[in-house]
Symmetry: C2
Subunit: 199 residues, 2 copies
């Protein structure tokens, strides 16, 4: 419903955030205006500053306001392996496991000719040079197991053919804690195909 022009505009703007509909937006707007105007002002500044200054790391293409992101600038990261991901959120997910100490390359999408997204848009033309420059021994393809993610992984593998680097793909199968009974056929088929000897 209409409240007042400025509040209505705030409610509408809040809905640009993913997963926020009219109800949540209204509740949020009233909450901020009733109890936390300082918070609202701080959020406005944070949004403006980030929208203004955040760009892509010149080395790995993730989002950062510096010339190079913290991971690329860290000399202690292992330069032997490069992990290719679709988005900056994937880096966060992998970093939280603390199981990977190599470097990253962010595509910001996946190959999707219908949407006009080709190798250029994903920085794939820069990738072979990046692999060569850092002297990587392994490129880990961590694109998502969707049709487009698989096609992207396949394209990258082909584009690195002829270089000495080993190209691997992360495993897809039954997630930990998952029960076979409830898992979709595609995942089970992947898990069967990807089976390994248990010696």
């Amino acid at each position: 419903m209409r409240i007042s022009p400025l509040i209505d505009r705030l409610v509408e703007s809040l809905q640009t955030m993913p997963g926020v509909g009219p109800k949540t937006a209204t509740r949020t707007a009233l909450h901020l205006l009733q109890y936390n105007r300082e918070g609202a002002r701080a959020l406005a500044t944070a949004l403006t500053d980030a929208a203004e200054h955040v760009r892509r790391c010149r080395t790995c293409r993730t989002l950062t306001e510096s010339d190079q992101c913290a991971i690329c600038a860290n000399p202690r990261r292992d330069s032997n392996s490069l992990c290719v991901v679709e988005s900056p959120a994937d880096i966060i997910a992998i970093e939280q496991t603390a199981g990977f100490s190599g470097r990253y390359f962010v595509l910001h999408g996946r190959l999707s000719p219908i949407d006009g997204i080709g190798p250029d848009e994903l920085g794939l033309t820069e990738l072979p040079a990046r692999v060569r420059d850092m002297g990587a021994k392994e490129v880990i393809l961590a694109t998502n197991p969707t049709v487009e993610g698989e096609a992207t992984a396949h394209y990258i593998k082909e584009s690195l053919r002829g270089s000495a680097v080993e190209v691997t793909r992360i495993a897809h199968g039954v997630p930990l804690g998952g029960e076979l009974e409830y898992i979709d056929g595609g995942t089970i088929a992947h898990a069967m195909q990807g089976r390994r000897s248990v010696d």
Copy 2:
């Protein structure tokens, strides 16, 4: 996890919104920066403008950037009844039912001596004059059925004793579609107490 100072600050600021934790905040920040910077800038402006200009309606105390809110300024609203609510969100909830055409009075809270919230903070000292000025015949108490909401309703009833106005309380009982079997005892007790003859 830390991403970059500006993105981290945005993630933190997004968490001032109710119900937004670190995960949602991170996803939202990356989404806005990757796909919708214009949306982020528009949201920043909307937040700043609203935080700057929205204040309380001088008549009913709801949030608006005008001197008077749209409902108070509407000459077609019924001046015979005044509905007292705890928050602007309650007005929205009631307006959406389209079942009430009277006017409102917003407390912005409920009596809570422990938190230092007394009659002055809730505008209750202005309420009798407001009731008199508009010539209301009925004051509907729509505070929430909590201990403090009930205490506030009781206080208002007492403060209007002696004026000619009728003071009523909205009904509390079994919600539509609710099944007795699953409803808490307090609500059922209210529903029994509030029973009415079915002639």
